[in-house]
């Protein structure tokens, strides 16, 4: 596997920030009440993770080991502030939707975790790519979580999408008479659904490992007969 393929695989599945590392749960649980909010936070997170990984990879030679964590925190907080201001100034319509989520990204420890574990030790291109892939790994899980909670909680999908794409509108999946299931919208519901997603990932991984083991057993030649006579 090439280095970039491995980075992608780690971000999307093997070391997925949510399913494997369980990092960034604070914004994850708070915002995943519906698909649109969840995906919006995720997209903003990708942007910040790429910027943070890029900046810290570029500056890594200047940062003394002993004070790396405060410097990382400083850089991440400054970048989030800059992104927040830039969104507000240049993409105001989007800011009205995403704005409340951008400061939340500072609380997402996955950003600090990737900076410390990867960007501080790798080159610019690999670090930026890692930020992108870790961000995409975050997005697909949080969006799935949001979609499941929205579907169970209020019987819709993509509600609120007209705030981002005015021509689209949400879908009523379950009948209008669906009474809603409040607990899915409240924080406990987020834990339940997240627990199920993690269990699903572990099950898939366990099944894949089982297959690999079985294949190996079939392929291995009988050891006793392999010695030359």
């Amino acid at each position: 596997m090439s280095a970039y393929k491995e980075i992608a695989w780690n971000g999307l599945w093997k070391q997925n920030s949510i399913l494997a590392q369980l990092l960034g749960l604070c914004p994850l649980l708070a915002v995943s009440t519906n698909f649109v909010n969840a995906a919006s936070l995720g997209l903003a997170t990708i942007l910040v993770m790429m910027l943070a990984n890029f900046a810290i990879s570029a500056l890594r030679a200047l940062i003394p080991y002993e004070i790396r964590i405060p410097v990382f925190v400083l850089i991440i907080a400054a970048l989030v502030t800059v992104v927040d201001l830039a969104f507000n100034a240049f993409l105001h319509d989007l800011y009205l939707v995403l704005g409340i989520f951008i400061p939340l990204i500072v609380t997402n420890c996955i950003v600090l975790a990737r900076v410390e574990a990867f960007a501080a030790k790798n080159g610019l291109r690999a670090a930026t790519f890692d930020g992108l892939m870790m961000g995409i790994g975050f997005v697909w899980v949080i969006a799935l979580l949001g979609a499941v909670r929205e579907l169970i909680g209020q019987g819709t999908l993509f509600s609120g999408i007209e705030m981002i794409f005015p021509t689209l509108s949400g879908i009523q999946v379950l009948p209008e008479t669906y009474p809603g299931f409040l607990i899915a919208m409240l924080p406990p519901g987020a834990f339940f659904v997240l627990g199920l997603l993690i269990a699903g990932r572990n099950w898939l991984d366990a099944r894949a490992n089982q297959r690999v083991r079985e294949n190996r057993q079939h392929e291995q030649p009988p050891a006793a007969n392999s010695l030359p006579a």
Binding site: I67, V71, L74, I75, L85, N88, Q154, T156, G160
Partner: protein, 232 residues
């Protein structure tokens, strides 16, 4: 015993490293603070313009621009924190006039008894004492449940819940009937999410009563004056 000269040398080495590290930390802090300050300065006019546009848009939702012909932003007064409106900060009250005659005041109010915290409201109260319209500006009600108070989230797009207050005054809905039906009043609520509806209904009733009562003074004050309670 170690060589005293060696100890002094080691100590000065540690000190040097500490000073150097502190200097690097300081440099990073200065550079990134400068970056933030620079971005803030550079975006400030754009952000202010967007905030103004947003405010005008909100005002436009409760008070259609054709109804007035003055410059709302210029014809505004400052309102000291007003407990009757649920406000603990200074707000602005905008006064709409047509050919000089009072049309409506646009004011902010807040309900402090929402299901999860404060609900911000903006209201337009006509010179005749009727509530022209009310909108929610900020809330944290449960998504999918109590958030129908915001017409953007209301599933009834044709006639959102909050529009039932439009063009009503205490002449058509008596003050003691300005409540949700569950409390014996006139206004609908959605079952399972009464608290959000009750908070908005009661806060709009209080705000309407306050605005109707103080209407003459609100219109009489010169622009940019400060409105204080009890200075009769």
């Amino acid at each position: 015993m170690s060589d005293p000269i060696q100890v002094v040398r080691q100590e000065s080495g540690v000190l040097r490293i500490a000073v150097r590290t502190a200097a690097i930390m300081l440099a990073f802090t200065l550079v990134f603070t400068a970056l933030m300050a620079g971005t803030y300065k550079a975006t400030e006019p754009l952000v202010a313009a967007s905030a103004l546009a947003e405010k005008l848009r909100l005002i436009g939702e409760v008070l259609p621009p054709p109804l007035y012909d003055n410059d709302l932003m210029a014809d505004a007064i400052t309102l000291a924190p007003q407990a009757a409106l649920g406000l603990d900060v200074e707000t602005r009250i905008w006064r709409a006039r047509k050919s000089g005659a009072p049309v409506a005041v646009v004011l902010e109010a807040a309900a402090r008894d929402g299901y999860s915290g404060r609900i911000g409201l903006i209201l337009a109260v006509g010179a005749d004492g009727r509530l022209l319209a009310v909108r929610v500006t900020a809330h944290k009600e449960t998504p999918g449940l109590g958030d129908y108070i915001d017409p953007k989230k209301d599933r009834n797009k044709a006639r959102p819940w909050i529009t039932q207050f439009s063009n009503l005054g205490f002449d058509s809905v008596p003050r003691d009937k300005w409540r949700v039906k569950k409390d014996g009043g006139r206004f609908d609520q959605m079952s399972g999410a009464t608290i959000s509806a009750r908070a908005v209904t009661n806060a709009s009733g209080r705000a309407l009563a306050w605005a109707a009562e103080n209407r003459d003074r609100l219109f009489a004050l010169p622009a940019n004056a400060r409105y204080e309670e009890s200075k009769q």
